[in-house]
C-alpha cells in the first residue's frame, strides 16, 4: 500500500466513525461506537504494516521521541489539575456544598453533581488537547532537526 492510500484510508475511517458515533448517540447504544473504534484502530495498525516506500530513519524517531516526551510533560500537568478539581467536587458533596451547574454546551442533568457523560466529554477534550500538542511539538522538532531544510542539489 502506498503512503497516500494509507492516509486516504484514515480519512475514510474517520468519516465512517463520525457516522457511527451519530448513529450510536441516536440509538443510545455506546457499544456501536466502541466496537467501531476498536475495529478502526485494528484496521489502521494492520494497514500501516503494509505501507511501503517510506524510510523510518533515526532522525524521524528522534523527532517522534522529543514530541512525545514534550506532550506528556504538559499533558500530565493539565490532567492532574482537572482531576484535582473533580476530586475536590466529589469529596465536597457530603459536606452539603452547592455546586453551580456545568456551563453549556455540556449536558445539564437533573442532578448537578458529577456525571459520567461529562467525564467522557472531559476525557475527549483532553485527548484532543493531547493530539494538538503532539502535532505542534512534532512541527517544532521537525523544524529544529532540519525537516524543511532545502539544498541546492
Amino acid at each position: 500500500m502506498k503512503q497516500n492510500t494509507f492516509y486516504l484510508l484514515i480519512g475514510i475511517l474517520g468519516v465512517l466513525l463520525v457516522a457511527v458515533l451519530w448513529l450510536s448517540i441516536q440509538r443510545s447504544m455506546p457499544i456501536l461506537i466502541q466496537v467501531a473504534f476498536l475495529a478502526a484502530v485494528v484496521v489502521i495498525y494492520a494497514a500501516r504494516r503494509t505501507v511501503h516506500g517510506t524510510i523510518d530513519d533515526e532522525r524521524s524517531s528522534v523527532i517522534t521521541q522529543h514530541a512525545a516526551v514534550a506532550t506528556l510533560g504538559i499533558f500530565w500537568v493539565v490532567f492532574f489539575v482537572l482531576s484535582l478539581g473533580s476530586v475536590v467536587l466529589e469529596f465536597s458533596r457530603p459536606l452539603g456544598i452547592h455546586f453551580p451547574p456545568p456551563p453549556p454546551p455540556f449536558p445539564q442533568p437533573g442532578d448537578a453533581g458529577p456525571h459520567f457523560g461529562n467525564l467522557g466529554l472531559m476525557q475527549l477534550a483532553l485527548l484532543g488537547l493531547m493530539i494538538v500538542l503532539y502535532g505542534a511539538f512534532r512541527i517544532y522538532y521537525a523544524h529544529k532537526f532540519g525537516d524543511w531544510e532545502s539544498d541546492e542539489e
Binding site: I55, D57, E58, R59, S60, V62, K144, F145, G146, D147, E149, S150, D151, E153
Partner: protein, 67 residues
Amino acid sequence: MKNRIRVLRAMREPPITQEQLATELRVTRQTIIAIEKGKYDPSLPLAFRIARFFQLPIEKIFFDDDA
C-alpha cells in the same frame, strides 16, 4: 557538531549526491541535509556507517564545535 560530509562527497570520484549517500546509509535525504547543515547530530551507529562509507576515522569527519 560540525562535519566534512559535504566536502567528502564532492571529493569522491565520481562525486556522490545526497540522495545516493542517503540510500547507501539507509536514511532519508533530509537526514543527510540536516547532518551536513549541523541541524542534527547522527547517532554513533550512523556516524560509524558514515565513517565506513568514506573509509575514514570518525574524528576525520566530525568535529566538536569547540574544537
